[in-house]
């Protein structure tokens, strides 16, 4: 096996293979990393229901196995959990599954010395998007006429979102759902990074058969992860088929095009200056100063928060300095993960505001955050 190889792989353990999203490879890589003492701890997402997952940090193999399967309606970002690991164990080693936005957050934190990337094994998950849990439950009742509690399985196949219960199975096209205001989270719709090329290995079901995972190996660490699992006899591999490779590339490029379309649709420029002013004043007016957006932000890396340095909840400013400093401060590193909008109790469209600013700055300085360790943060002065 070499760097750059594309293969298909699956778990040798029948139970993991069955429970996993597509062959249980990721779960097996994580357990192998613990068993082979490649890492001290693993972060994984423990399922509470189809609509809720709790991230756990563990060195217990059984707990990792319980986390198998993809939760498409648990839009959580794992970056800050990795930061907490390195705060507790500066010399520790860690492995975790990472969607593109998890991986990009982790790389931005690594640039700011909060995460040691050399000691972090990133098992990338291809991602076509996540769904907001509450809206998805409403969608199930309205569009699918299924009780959310009855759902036992959820799947995406050929642009259709499929829900299964004990009795039935229903599929509706994602386009149709999104037209009706359901489907993926808004930021996922315009996200152009579906295959996490910045990780050690990218895993996904595009281009793979039933109960197998398509894997692309990017780094030395990725190779180590795979070889370790093979040596421990936990996974089985086979070369990817030409057809599989083509399907994966094609699907990826289709998704990219769709994302670009959404970006255009959502980010309509507000040409008039005064209109822009009133837009910002109106949307930020609802802020209740809870600072939740700052806590969840995967790229926020201050030890002492800059954004509250100049701001006091008693201020009677027309636009909150807290948000302006945050807009400025993460404009170079914002990856558009959508966490801020998700947690905002006042329903301020924060991700859109941050993206509007970040698009300007990132284009100006020709910097795309979270892609590799080569380029320093664009705030750095030469």
């Amino acid at each position: 096996m070499n760097i750059g190889d594309r293969i298909v792989a699956w778990s040798k353990d029948e139970e993991i293979k069955k429970e996993g999203a597509s062959g249980g490879l990721v779960t097996s890589l994580l357990t192998a990393a613990l068993k082979g003492e490649l890492v001290d701890e693993v972060i994984a997402l423990q399922k509470v229901s189809e609509f809720e997952g709790v991230p756990i940090r563990t060195s217990n193999v059984d707990e990792v196995i319980k986390c198998s399967g993809s939760l498409h309606a648990a839009p959580i970002n794992l970056t800050k959990f990795a930061v907490r690991f390195f705060e507790a164990h500066p010399d520790g080693t860690l492995a975790l599954p990472a969607k593109p936005c998890d991986a990009r957050g982790i790389i931005e934190q690594a640039k700011r010395k909060k995460i040691n990337l050399e000691k972090t094994y990133l098992i990338g998950l291809n991602c076509g998007g996540t769904m907001p849990p509450i809206t998805t439950m409403k969608m199930l009742e309205k569009m699918y006429e299924i009780n959310p509690d009855d759902v036992i399985e959820e799947e995406i196949e050929r642009g259709k979102l499929i829900f299964k219960t004990e009795k039935e199975e229903k599929a509706i096209s994602i386009d149709e759902l999104e037209e009706a205001g359901y489907g993926r989270r808004e930021n996922c719709r315009y996200c152009e990074t579906n295959i996490p090329v910045m990780t050690d290995v990218a895993c996904g079901n595009w281009g793979a058969g039933k109960n197998e995972t398509f894997v692309e190996i990017f780094t030395e660490k990725g190779l180590k992860l795979m070889n370790n699992a093979i040596e421990l006899g936990l996974i089985e591999t086979a070369p990817a088929t030409e057809k599989g490779i083509k399907i994966r590339e094609k699907t990826n490029s289709v998704m990219e095009k769709v994302a670009k379309k959404w970006h255009k649709k959502i980010f309509v420029p507000i040409e008039d200056r005064l209109e822009r002013f009133h837009y910002y004043m109106d949307v930020m007016e609802d802020c209740i100063d809870c600072e939740a957006c700052k806590y969840v932000c995967p790229v926020c890396a201050c030890d002492e928060s800059k954004c509250i340095d100049f701001y006091d909840p008693m201020d009677s400013h027309k636009i909150s300095i807290y948000h302006l400093v945050r807009l400025l401060h993460i404009s170079d590193s914002c990856i558009g993960c959508g966490q801020c909008t998700d947690v905002c109790p006042a329903e301020i469209p924060l991700t859109i505001l941050h993206r509007r600013m970040a698009d300007r700055i990132q284009a100006k300085y020709d910097y795309i955050p979270g892609m590799d360790m080569k380029i320093p943060p664009s705030f750095e002065v030469e």
Partner: protein, 141 residues
Amino acid sequence: MEEEWTPKITLFCCNWCSYAGSDDAGVGRKQQPPSTRTIRVMCSGRTDPGFVLTALMEGSDAVLFTGCHIGDCHYISGNYKAKKRFEMLKEILDEIGLEDERLQLQWISASEGSEFAEYIRKVTEEIKAIGPSPLRQEWMK
């Protein structure tokens, strides 16, 4: 009696060049409008974006960044940092719909008193032409 409106302009001067330049303008009795509120910082690199945003929110109609000419900063690279911050601030102020004139950057050396006075006259006219800042609360004088 209606007085003519004069803008309030917050002026950040670095200790070594632009503050001395503004002093030079005063000593040389160069005419300039009473529109500026000067804040002396040790170096233009000390001008935190938070200062600028606070000034604007608290009723300034414009904010001026000034400092030593590039290459002359007494702390070697302070004005490079100021320049980068200025560029970033420009973007965000434009994004939230503020006029371009409300944030400006000018390098002024200790001996440029007349240039300094000239610059303040020019900026004051520009701000007069565009009127009070929309960020200013109605109750702010």
